[in-house]
């Protein structure tokens, strides 16, 4: 075992500090050190997108990062999407519920976080834009059609003025 190092990180607006082994992956850190179990693991080698989260606002694979690499950074995970006061679902989450954009729901947090980045940067995405954004997320259940509809519905709601801004203040 190698020397543990300190990680100070803000996740969904909450500051954490932990001592970790350098080899601990970020997704294991989130899930098993911080007990934020909403970010799931499908492959641990970067292909499935199940573990996607936002690091400083960018969608990335949390299985392809080390916990020590987010020292000083600000992260958003699926747990940060719901309105903390009211418990209401985030518009993107609600759109997935409304359009049956999930079945087992295991891939869903990854899709939600990827969609968040997409719609934040491009509130009116074309079909091709959506496919490009979500092409790195695997879903074994839905066949993607309902996911596509969900993202379109979320985009429509964003255009109608619903706020999808990150729910925490960095």
């Amino acid at each position: 075992m190698t020397t543990k190092q300190t990680v100070k990180v803000t996740v969904n607006g909450i500051a954490y500090e932990r001592q970790v082994e350098p080899r601990l992956t970020l997704v294991d850190f989130l899930r098993h050190e911080l007990h934020l179990g909403g970010t799931h693991v499908g492959c641990e080698h970067g292909v499935c997108g199940t573990c996607n989260i936002l690091v400083d606002g960018k969608a990335v694979r949390s299985c392809l990062m080390l916990a020590v690499q987010v020292d000083g950074e600000s992260l958003t995970t699926v747990e940060g999407l719901r309105n903390r006061d009211t418990g209401d679902l985030h518009p993107i989450q609600q759109a997935f519920v409304d359009e049956h954009g999930l079945q087992c729901g295991f891939c869903t947090p990854g899709f939600l976080m990827t969609t968040l980045e997409l719609l934040r940067d491009n509130p009116n995405p074309s079909e091709a834009d959506i496919k490009d954004a979500l092409g790195g997320n695997l879903c074994r259940c839905t066949g993607y059609e309902a996911i596509m509809k969900s993202v379109r519905l979320a985009a429509k709601r964003v255009q109608e003025g619903q706020d999808i801004g990150l729910t925490h203040t960095d």
């Binding site: 350098p22 992956t25 997108g49 960018k58 694979r61 020590v68 790195g136």
Partner: protein, 291 residues
């Protein structure tokens, strides 16, 4: 699937990083540079790589830039591929590099994966390899003995190996902007969009009096390193880029290849066939874009 133990360092400056690498080397420790981790992390988790130490360049902000320098664009090694993708300078002045960038994995991979990391990793399937060869890029490498510039043709040594010493750091890649009138094309075949390519090709050319001039053809995904196809270039030079000529150039290029790689997705023979197709298609497309 968890990495074996290692030490982790994240120096603040390039100088510190270079010194650290030298120190670790002196102590006979195997140190690896960590950039975006999009190739290294899977290798660590699969325990295919088991370095004693990682030297993370993430804090060295000085390696994150895209600069126009006359007719050259300089990209800092730690620039993310998504930054390269979003760069207006690259898109407008070197569209071939922009296209190559778009073909690398998915947006989430490009958000983390660095430009330098792809060059340093020297994967046979890296789009950037063909871009480097066809554009004649230069790589800037810094080590204990200072910096050196390595032209693309010397940079790629073999499978997963670039001309970077274990104590050196790739700090910048330089690409010339596309010359006015030059036609270009970048095409690949992959099983699914975003997958590593089974084979791919990049072409630049000019048309003078309706015939091809200054033709550069490079292919990737087939051999251990990206390769220029000199015979195909010679064949098409001085000829019009008709479908027939392009097809024949593709065939000449494919025939001239060293025995291609073979894996679960593609046999060597199929890869050769793909090169014939892709080179031909690139030539036609590049010619259509030349003026």
């Amino acid at each position: 699937m968890k990495p074996a133990p290692f030490d982790y360092y994240s120096p603040d400056t390039l100088e510190e990083a270079v010194a650290l690498l030298a120190k670790l080397e002196n102590e006979d420790l195997d140190a690896k540079i960590l950039a975006g981790g999009q190739s290294l992390m899977p290798m660590l988790s699969l325990r295919l790589a088991r370095p004693d130490a990682l030297v993370d360049l993430r804090k060295i902000g000085a390696l994150d830039y895209i600069r126009e320098d006359g007719d050259t664009i300089a990209i800092g090694a730690m620039t993310s591929k998504s930054a390269a993708e979003d760069s207006d300078v690259i898109r407008t002045r070197q569209p071939l590099f922009h296209e190559a960038t778009l073909l690398v994995g998915h947006r989430q991979i490009r958000n983390r994966g660095t430009v330098g990391g792809s060059f340093a990793h020297a994967e046979p399937t890296a789009e950037y390899g063909a871009a480097a060869m066809v554009l004649g890029m230069d790589m800037k490498v810094v080590g204990p003995n200072g910096e050196r510039i390595v032209p693309a043709k010397d940079f790629y040594v073999t499978y997963l190996t670039a001309d970077i010493d274990s104590t050196e750091i790739l700090t910048e890649v330089r690409l010339p902007v596309l010359k006015k009138g030059t036609g270009w094309s970048f095409q690949e075949m992959s099983r699914r969009q975003g997958d590593h390519a089974l084979a791919g090709a990049a072409v630049t050319l000019r048309l003078v009096g309706g015939v091809c001039k200054d033709v550069c053809i490079a292919v990737f995904g087939v051999n251990a390193s990206p390769t220029r196809l000199a015979e195909a270039e010679a064949f098409i030079t001085g000829k019009a880029a008709t479908e027939d000529n392009a097809r024949e150039a593709g065939r000449v290029g494919a025939d001239g290849l060293e025995e291609p790689m073979s894996d679960v997705h593609a046999t060597a023979q199929y890869r050769r066939g793909l090169i014939a197709t892709l080179v031909a298609r690139c030539l036609v497309e590049a010619a259509s874009r030349a003026s």
